[in-house]
């Protein structure tokens, strides 16, 4: 079984698409190979005999090498590990090429989470307001903290 950091090389035969520019060529080959991820324009390396590009997503990096326009491509696959995926979920906004629909549903889950958390914050304060015993002390702490936080944000900005 491939573990984090191990690079596995495999080969696949495809029909090489016509070249228009680096982006289109890389994307077409990625799609032919069925690789999930974004192509990285800054990772393109080419000369008269070869073309190399990279595909990446939160869980894996791929380097794809084409030699002399041959149909058999070398693919170097690197697994990033659990924590990379875990961290990658934070900024992941969906629309990753060649993914199962379920992965792209993450963006809706993120939006739903934001709404639920905002609702929790507002409803939590509302529930607190119904208890008279801690209302005064709670209000002092709440408004002091909001005031201080906003002051820090403004100081950082201005």
């Amino acid at each position: 079984m491939q573990s984090k950091g191990d690079t596995v090389k495999w080969q696949k035969q495809i029909t090489i698409p016509p070249y228009k520019n680096d982006d289109q060529f890389s994307n077409d080959i990625r799609d032919s190979l069925g690789l999930m991820g974004w192509t990285l324009p800054w990772e393109v390396k080419k000369d008269s005999a070869s073309f190399q590009f990279a595909v990446s997503h939160a869980g894996k990096d791929y380097t794809v090498k084409i030699h002399n326009n041959e149909n058999i491509l070398d693919v170097y696959e690197n697994r990033k590990g659990f924590w990379s995926v875990f961290n990658g979920l934070h900024p992941f906004g969906g629309d990753l090429p060649n993914t199962p629909g379920m992965i792209n549903s993450w963006k809706y889950y993120q939006d739903f989470t934001v709404v639920v958390l905002l609702f929790s914050a507002i409803s939590g304060i509302f529930i607190f307001l119904r208890r008279k015993s801690e209302r005064k002390a709670g209000f002092i702490i709440l408004f002091s903290c909001i005031g201080l936080s906003v002051l820090i944000m403004l100081s950082v900005w201005l």
Partner: protein
């Protein structure tokens, strides 16, 4: 048992009070970043200026960074400096809505200040992305508050689960929803790891 419940309830309540502004800031800025195309965006405005320096004192890069920040009156977080291939050094300063670079020539006689001013969208994104200690006391406080907000969110979740467990008699729906969200997240992680 009632004392423990009251203690957890108070931790839950006051933790939320302390960090509510930063968490709301995170929600709003994060939502804006995720849906960037819904908000008006414009290119950053760039200003550039050259200055002659007459400094005889020897300084390390950190001291240069502080000196240049004071000299050019840059109110921003000091970031790491870069040595460029041509011998120049770039000192970077960042704050929400603004990014400044001071490039110092190899003989340290001329400094070029380049400042980018971002739109409202860029400013909000700057609030969300500001991170790292060591760039000035004000920014250290801000980053500390962000760390506090992250820890508080974890405390908030754990104490919230405890309160739910103690308060709610029929837990079936809660268990179903909690399990579903955990299983869904694990499936997404598994798909990424094997995709």
């Amino acid at each position: 048992m009632k004392n423990a419940y009251n203690l957890i309830r108070k931790i839950h309540l006051y933790t939320a009070f302390i960090i509510v502004s930063f968490i709301v800031m995170y929600f709003i800025t994060g939502f804006m970043m995720k849906h960037g195309d819904w908000f008006p965006q414009s290119d950053a405005k760039v200003f550039s200026k050259k200055f002659d320096l007459h400094i005889s004192k020897e300084m390390n890069e950190e001291e240069w960074s502080i000196y240049l920040q004071d000299k050019f009156d840059i109110h921003a977080q000091r970031k790491r400096s870069n040595k460029n291939n041509d011998g120049t050094i770039s000192f970077k300063y960042s704050k929400p809505g603004e990014f400044s670079t001071v490039t110092l020539t190899a003989d340290k006689s001329v400094a070029t200040l380049r400042t980018q001013h971002f739109s409202a969208y860029g400013t909000f994104a700057g609030f969300h992305r500001l991170n790292g200690y060591g760039g000035g006391w004000l920014y250290d406080i801000y980053v500390f508050m962000l760390d506090l907000a992250s820890i508080a969110l974890l405390v908030f979740v754990v104490t919230g689960l405890y309160l739910w467990y103690k308060l709610i008699r029929k837990k079936t729906w809660g268990i179903i929803i909690l399990s579903a969200s955990i299983i869904y997240t694990l499936i997404i992680i598994a798909l990424f790891m094997n995709g």
